[in-house]
Point group: none
Chain length 194, copies 4
DNA sequence: TCCTAAACGAGACGGTACGTCCTGTCTTTGT
DNA sequence: ACAAAGACAGGACGTACCGTCTCGTTTAGGA
């Protein structure tokens, strides 16, 4: 049996609603006025919040922005349910690509910036975001594998091809994240791991 | 062809050696202390150069950093000569991957930052760097195509898969840019476009 | 006049011991670490007390500091009893000067700050502290006056000379508040008002 | 013979006009909106100047405010020329008192605050301001002394009585800095040192 | 003895000033 | 005219403090 009464922390508890308000404001600012305009001061005054409160919840600007993205994604992205065959993977990828709108794209690019600029944030972002998505994709890919024993190296390559192409187009915006890409990637990966 | 003195601009001419010194210093700073530490002021004083000189040669920080990379690449990367078949493509990719060391990687990541943060620099970087590499790769891929008429959409996907995977690993450093990746990518692309 | 039980306020009564603990801590902090270090937060946590408790007893920082001084003075200063002649005034002044130690001096200086910065506190401090001392001094001075009708203007000057010199040395600490000053002031004032 | 060519410091020299503009703005702010309103940010933006520039010229807010006062005094206070007798001293004191207007008073009180709050500033203020005025007054007092050998202790007391009364009335504003005070002080000091 | 309401410790909250840093431009002297 | 040096305007960052608020806990006095 576990310890019964976990002593609540003393003092006024942090207000989850304040946190949410901040995240919403941050998302709004990033979408409307771009990554750079999402200043800490601006976020604070827009959200009618003290700057100190921002730094109480997040260590620095980058962490706040990341969480703002996760918050946004959580609210707006439908849970994608993929199937067992190539068509399922196609649908899965297409859904992901469609979730990357002009707005989310802006935020995602901003997070790349922070990952590069701030080493500490990089691992945070990788663990909390990138890795999660990789695992999810890996799970999908495994569904269409016939062999019981998957080759980890090939799996890594499969993942990096898909997300690589995605980020590459997301960053440079030279070609769209359309269904054609989703289908082709699905086809290639299917063949690679089967 | 006239050997006549083309009216030289008055005043002291710009010193090419100064320009080189700046680029070297910039590369050094980025490598040793990271992208963020490569401040304009720091670059200037490290290179024993006035800040104005930096802005005379380059419009802003991002352009300087990009040129520093090109300068570095030019000095250290062997011109890659690829062959006509899949083996040739493998070698080509392997050579590119090997050219991305800890140092060049740092710089490349920095340029991504600027591309995202600064719209104007983004197109500059894309035209002067990314597009060039894409064309070079496209040329290589065409060499191993049998069909005279290449499908432009497939070509785009082929390029984005290769460079996408490369940048993806370059940014997040979760897996190495090794020969295994080069070989697998070569194989996939070969099949895709043939 | 009713001796009826005035309905005591319901709820837990305020703890006088808490109040005293706060005042002592405040005095200690100001003395040891200076006026600036006597932050409300620091006072609270040093006294193992909630910040709210401070504001329950005092409206703001300045009022707390003033009361801390009064509290300290009350504890440490002997009631000065002056005589009827110049010698009496000398003794009176000397006693006052001696009561201004390093500790009380620090606090008094802090109260000057608040008086200047905060208009509302200024009148509070003047009424509760400065004026009281002026009246006390006026009483002493009158004792050695022969004439029944004192000149109010001369009295004002006498007071301001004495307390002026005192505060001036207290603030800038360029010369000590010694007996020589007390004697000289007593002599001058005696002559002035006689 | 001294060294001929003192090598000028390299780089753009500091602009004296910028410094003056800042001082004027600071004085204006303090006078119009009070000591507290003279924020560094507000000073900077009012003077159309970067905050960095403020900190280049002065180490902190207090130093800037002090110099603003000195600047103001220098511009607005007539050089007081006193005579050789008591009448001369009376005129001297009256002139000083008159120079302390509502505006300068506000600034002077602000400097007292900083002196108390910031130990480092205190000595700066004492050396650059208080001491200068004391010396000037001492000079005046010596003019009316008959004895060749002045008593340093009495001199100290004379100075502290005059400036003490002045600051005391300046801080608490309970009585005006009028001619009556000047005359009485002059009389007392004359007798004290003769 | 139990109930109730205010005091209490703790600390989150909105707001504001501080002093540092960086970018890109401007202004000197020296070559 | 260019170059080195560094001052300049502007603005973001992260820290500190004030006075208010909101939790869970404690404690007196009235029922």
């Amino acid at each position: 049996m576990s310890i019964e009464k976990t002593h609540a922390k003393p003092g006024r508890p942090r207000s989850e609603s304040v946190r949410r308000k901040i995240l919403q404001t941050t998302v709004g600012l990033m979408i409307e006025r771009g990554y750079k305009a999402a200043t800490m001061k601006r976020i604070a005054s827009s959200a009618r919040v003290g700057k100190q409160t921002l730094y109480r919840w997040w260590h620095n600007r980058a962490e706040l922005l990341m969480e703002a993205l996760l918050f946004y994604a959580e609210e707006n992205v439908d849970t994608v349910l993929a199937g067992l065959d190539r068509r399922g993977l196609e649908a899965f990828l297409a859904a992901i690509f469609q979730s990357i709108t002009k707005e989310t794209g802006e935020i995602l690019r901003g997070l790349i910036v922070e990952s590069i600029v701030d080493e500490a944030f990089a691992s945070l972002f990788f663990e909390n975001f990138i890795k999660q998505r990789q695992k999810r994709l890996e799970y999908e890919i495994k569904l269409l594998q016939k062999t019981a024993e998957p080759d980890p190296q090939k799996m890594g390559i499969a993942i990096d091809i898909i997300f690589g192409a995605m980020w590459y187009r997301l960053i440079f915006r030279h070609r769209p994240l359309d269904n054609a890409l989703a289908n082709e990637l699905a086809a290639m990966v299917t063949q690679l791991v089967s």
